[in-house]
């Protein structure tokens, strides 16, 4: 597939991340065109979350460069939104659903400035989009796993970014929420946004995504789902002989 003719959302060169001496990501080269809905797949410990965190500067790589629309991440922060894994925060924190979604506006506000009516309005709109408006004043510990994930998605939507990074957004959510989230993600893609999603369920890759990256410490393959999501690449990534009934 020829990527060169399209505008690149993300270009990664020689990215290497290591904890102590153990490489977690090894010499990754990756080109992600604008406007794709991309899954990152790979076994546990393949470095999927680490890849996202390295792109976002949460983890410092020991080598390599990351360009977002041709510039370093720091210059492009406002164009990027991040949905962390649900399990990384304390859901017993004393705050409400609306308050968490409002946090999505903090980046554009910058230091010290307080959120006002405009920020509140866009947070309410995002809550409505994810079907959670009636839960706006709910204490976050009283939300189900699926509802918490919707809140996290709403917080990212408020950022009104061009690129969305999501770390396992379907983990521990109900089927209704999974359908709701994928619908929103597809809408965002159709609106020209780029979405990069760490994903675990191989069965749903062809149905949900149009772009895929196989990762297992090294980059195995990256491209359109219809061209490269096959048994060959799955076997290379997961090590065992993998058979998924796709591409009839």
């Amino acid at each position: 597939m020829n990527v060169k003719n399209e505008k690149l959302a993300i270009k990664i060169d020689d990215l290497t991340v290591a904890y102590d001496y153990k490489p977690v990501l090894w010499d990754i080269d990756l080109k992600i065109p604008e406007g794709v809905l991309m899954a990152i797949v790979g076994p546990n410990g393949a470095g999927k979350s680490t890849l996202i965190k390295a792109i976002l500067g949460i983890i410092k790589p020991i080598a390599g460069s990351v360009k977002i629309f041709g510039k370093p991440y720091k210059a492009q922060r406002s164009k990027v939104a991040y949905v962390p894994q649900k399990g990384t925060v304390d859901w017993d924190f004393p705050t409400t659903a609306l308050d968490v979604v409002m946090m999505g506006t903090y980046g554009s506000l910058g230091w010290i400035k307080r959120p006002g009516q405009a920020q509140r309005k866009s947070a309410l709109e995002a809550l409505e989009k994810v079907g959670m408006l009636s839960f706006k004043n709910r204490q976050i510990s009283q939300l189900s796993g699926g509802q918490q994930q919707r809140i996290f998605l709403a917080r990212a939507l408020v950022q009104n970014a061009s690129i969305y990074f999501m770390d396992e957004p379907f983990q521990g959510v109900d089927a209704t929420t999974e359908r709701a989230i994928i619908k929103i993600l597809k809408e965002l893609r159709d609106a020209g946004k780029t979405l990069i999603v760490v994903h675990h369920d191989l069965q749903t890759v062809p149905e949900y995504f149009n772009w895929v990256t196989f990762l297992n410490v090294k980059g195995i393959a990256s491209g359109p789902v219809k061209d490269i999501f096959n048994d060959d690449n799955l076997t290379k990534t997961y090590g065992i002989n993998y058979k998924v009934a796709i591409n009839p």
């Binding site: 102590d20 949460i58 409400t96 010290i112 959670m132 209704t176 709701a180 619908k183």
Partner: protein, 376 residues
């Protein structure tokens, strides 16, 4: 002197007034900043910091030869900060976990501090007596200028808290996300930790090295039980802290000068206990009551659903059935049946019951998924 006498003397006796104001302000600032430690799950950091401050006090005395509180506390501040940033860098640079690093620094600094204290005790011509008051604190030594310093620090930390409210809240809830939004999380971390160290050092004179962490944690832990809002929690923690300070001082002054620090801590611990039991939503009592209510309600619905399944077999849902076919296993008792009738879900005629349309509807809803969210 009894407690009522104490409160009547509060505004006439200068010393008593100063000490009370001091413990109140200390309680408030510790409660306020302690909320952050509790919510960041760094509760034990306070304990490590206060113990790490001890060698600073001893070294300050050895170097300057003065017993002036301000010099000694300056030493405490320096060694407290040193201990804190050692802990952070151990966690960052080695594979040791947070609790191990805390324990290590705590015992290392405290051991060194105790060593220095015994060394000082053996010095000739030492006007050393009194340094060990920093172990358990002595509120009676509070001077009016100490209280001014406390008020100053409280004011500054309140100002900083309000100024960076949005950023600090974000950091408490989701540090990684804070970083991706472009906020300097290291700056925020150092900011909040420094103020916690400052509050601890201020409390050493009153409460002492050993019990200081309780001043930080107890009011915050109690406050968390009563509210689901961060700002209310911090306000409540400050109020609980101040209350513990005043009541602790009152008890101590009225009961033959019992040691003030431990009493303040015990009062704060009492508040925690009360909050754990009696808080309206998170309290143990409320949860027990909710549990029993739910069980009763469940039994009621269990009976109703049995009736629903029986009624489903008939064309007419209100077809009467014998009460005898219900048994205990279905959650049935005479009481639940009466409750069901009260709710207008069943009708009872003699020894027969029949489902009402309302009851049928209710049972039907029971089997539908309760998720109120729509499929988008």
């Amino acid at each position: 002197m009894n407690i009522t006498e104490y409160f009547s003397m509060l505004f006439t006796d200068y010393t008593l007034g100063v000490i009370t104001l001091g413990t109140a302000v200390l309680g408030a600032v510790c409660g306020m900043l302690g909320s952050f430690a509790v919510l960041r799950r760094q509760s034990l950091l306070g304990d490590a910091i206060s113990h790490a401050a001890l060698p600073g006090i001893a070294l300050a005395f050895l170097l300057t030869g003065t017993k002036q509180t301000h010099f000694l506390l300056l030493g405490a501040l320096i060694s407290g900060l040193l201990g804190t940033f050692w802990i952070k860098s151990i966690v960052k640079k080695t594979r040791l976990k947070n609790d191990t690093a805390l324990g290590l620094i705590l015992s290392l600094f405290f051991g060194f501090g105790m060593l220095l204290l015994t060394f000082i005790q053996k010095l000739p011509n030492a006007n050393q007596a009194g340094l060990d008051k920093y172990l358990f604190g002595q509120a009676a030594t509070l001077m009016v200028q100490d209280v001014y310093v406390m008020i100053g620090v409280t004011g500054v930390s309140l100002f900083v808290l309000l100024l960076f409210w949005k950023e600090l809240k974000l950091l408490l809830f989701d540090p990684d996300y804070t970083l991706t939004l472009g906020f300097n999380t290291r700056f925020l971390d150092i900011l909040i930790t420094s103020f916690i160290v400052l509050a601890i050092v201020l409390g050493l004179q009153t409460v002492g090295v050993v019990l200081m962490s309780a001043m930080l944690l107890a009011p915050a832990a109690a406050a968390r039980q009563w509210t689901n809002s961060l700002s209310v929690m911090i306000f409540l923690a400050a109020a609980f802290g101040a209350f513990s300070g005043v009541l602790g001082t009152a008890i101590s002054a009225s009961q033959n000068n019992l040691s003030t620090g431990p009493i303040i801590v015990l009062v704060a611990a009492g508040l925690v206990l009360l909050s754990f039991v009696f808080a309206p939503q998170r309290g143990l009592l409320a949860r027990r009551i909710r549990f029993y209510r739910n069980r009763k309600e469940l039994n009621l619905r269990k009976t109703l659903s049995v009736m629903y399944h029986i009624a489903q077999n008939h064309k007419d849902i209100s077809h009467p059935h014998a009460i005898k076919i219900l048994n205990n296993f279905h959650g049935y008792t005479r009481k639940t049946l009466n409750k069901l009738e009260e709710k207008n879900w069943v009708e009872i005629r003699g020894n027969q019951w029949s489902l009402t349309a309302k009851g049928y509807q209710e049972a039907e809803n029971f089997y539908k998924p309760q998720e109120a969210m729509q499929d988008l």
